[in-house]
Symmetry: C2
Subunit: 276 residues, 2 copies
């Protein structure tokens, strides 16, 4: 057992998605696509008498993280630090669950593979009801296309070959659980249409178009987000809504060019990784 | 069409492998495991009247790269720059083929996904006879475990969760084609044994042990490499032989601690990526 381990997990904005519920959590998940971001979550794990999770220094309850600790049968302190907005569609809960799994494996010498650890974090996130596709996307990095749902034993991932600057702006919070536990038929139909169009033309431009269309068809687009996307378009840029949050993301300097005070980040090509 | 695109592809040292020949190049490949390195190859592609490949400024013939250009139906200049030793087991040909595929996709707006581009590069490398598993490992990054052979449509990848310093020292060259086109039955049996042991315990320490055992069982260990590995072991370190080259790689500062003037690099967690 080592004293501590640290893991970085990229944030992940989802552009469009489906909800695919199966009887097992590791088969449950979503298809869709998103962008992994260099702005992410740094997770530090240390052995402890009693498990506790801290987010930016404050003790918090993160069901998915506690489930990871239980699955790996350890007592530990998990400290997550991030500059990402919470509840705004950046996959902070998924990142913390995945980071905890990778760090616990190191600290407690659990000898599990990347797929096994990702499976545990994905299953925990699904059971907690806080996400369906962020974990597997965050494990991969880049611009993941989730062709088939579920954990690594069941899903099929591809990616858009892309790099470069991404900007985002958060207008407010939104509960993921509220949406994915409601009626998701319309949403899934829209997600499937978006996915088909991206598979036919896997470019970032098509990803942004498909994401915009999805947010309209799935009736998730809010007035504030819609207006901001329009402003970016009018300034010659390319923006879409992050699922699920009141967040707009844009390629390049799209939001800045439209006069917004946006956060600047880049595509993170590496995915979740131990920090040496 | 843009003017140019640049891609970085990590080097890749293979610790052990099998040879799995099938009728199709995209099903042909190898199982095994290795380490992707932050020391790699930077590939720049520009449109040209007539295709040509340059390695560190010198015009060269790289069959796998020309096959990639043909498959993507373009005329281009491909310039690869690397500090890695050539013909020494670092997968420079695979890196250049994969980098060319990703860069051509960008320059000529080919609109192919990461899996499609990796498939093209893997098939080209197999047909050129210069490698069987480097391309898919270099596309993934980290410490890839190749559970099933072939391109991305057919293979199954996992990984050891690991980070940190890696050192290497090259004693001489060796032809990959000579080994993989010979009798590979003994080698494949040894590779399967090594793979089973790593799957049972996916740690870097077990990867190094399995790699050392493989190099002996497959009769690929040379006297110079053997002596260097022993020196590292005597100094309390952990080293193995890179397949296929007269190269020793070590975890942490293993070679330096044993008094060798080794090159220092790290595990590259990202895999092949466009340089923005």
């Amino acid at each position: 057992m080592t004293e501590m381990a640290r893991v970085f997990v990229p944030g992940h904005v989802t552009g469009f998605f489906t909800v695919d519920r199966r009887s097992e959590p590791t088969r449950t998940g979503s298809r869709g696509a998103g962008i992994a971001l260099s702005e992410g979550v740094t997770i530090t794990v240390r052995p402890a008498e009693e498990s506790a999770v801290f987010l930016d220094g404050e003790r918090t309850l993160m069901d998915a993280v506690h489930r990871v600790l239980d699955a790996l049968d350890v007592q530990a302190h998990v400290r997550a630090v991030t500059d990402l907005p919470l509840g705004a569609g950046f996959g902070v809960s998924g990142a913390t669950a995945l980071g905890a799994a990778l760090a616990v494996n190191r600290v407690f010498d659990r000898r599990l593979s990347v797929r096994e650890l990702t499976t545990i974090a994905h299953g925990a996130e699904v059971q907690a009801g806080t996400g369906l596709g962020d974990v597997v996307a965050q494990a991969r990095g880049g611009v993941p296309i989730r062709l088939e749902p579920g954990g690594p034993q069941h899903n099929v991932l591809d990616g858009v070959s892309a790099a470069g600057r991404v900007e985002y702006l958060t207008l407010g919070e939104r509960s993921t659980a509220e949406v994915i536990e409601g009626d998701t038929e319309t949403l899934t139909t829209a997600g499937e249409r978006a996915l088909s169009s991206l598979v036919a033309e896997p470019t970032v431009e098509q990803f942004m178009r498909a994401s915009r269309q999805f947010s309209r068809e799935a009736s998730l687009l809010t007035e504030g987000v819609r207006a901001t996307i329009m402003d970016v378009t009018d300034a010659g840029g390319d923006a879409a809504m992050a699922m699920l949050g009141e967040t707009v993301f844009a390629l390049g300097s799209g939001l800045t060019d439209a006069g917004y005070d946006a956060t600047v980040t880049t595509v993170d090509s590496a995915g979740a990784r131990l920090v040496a």
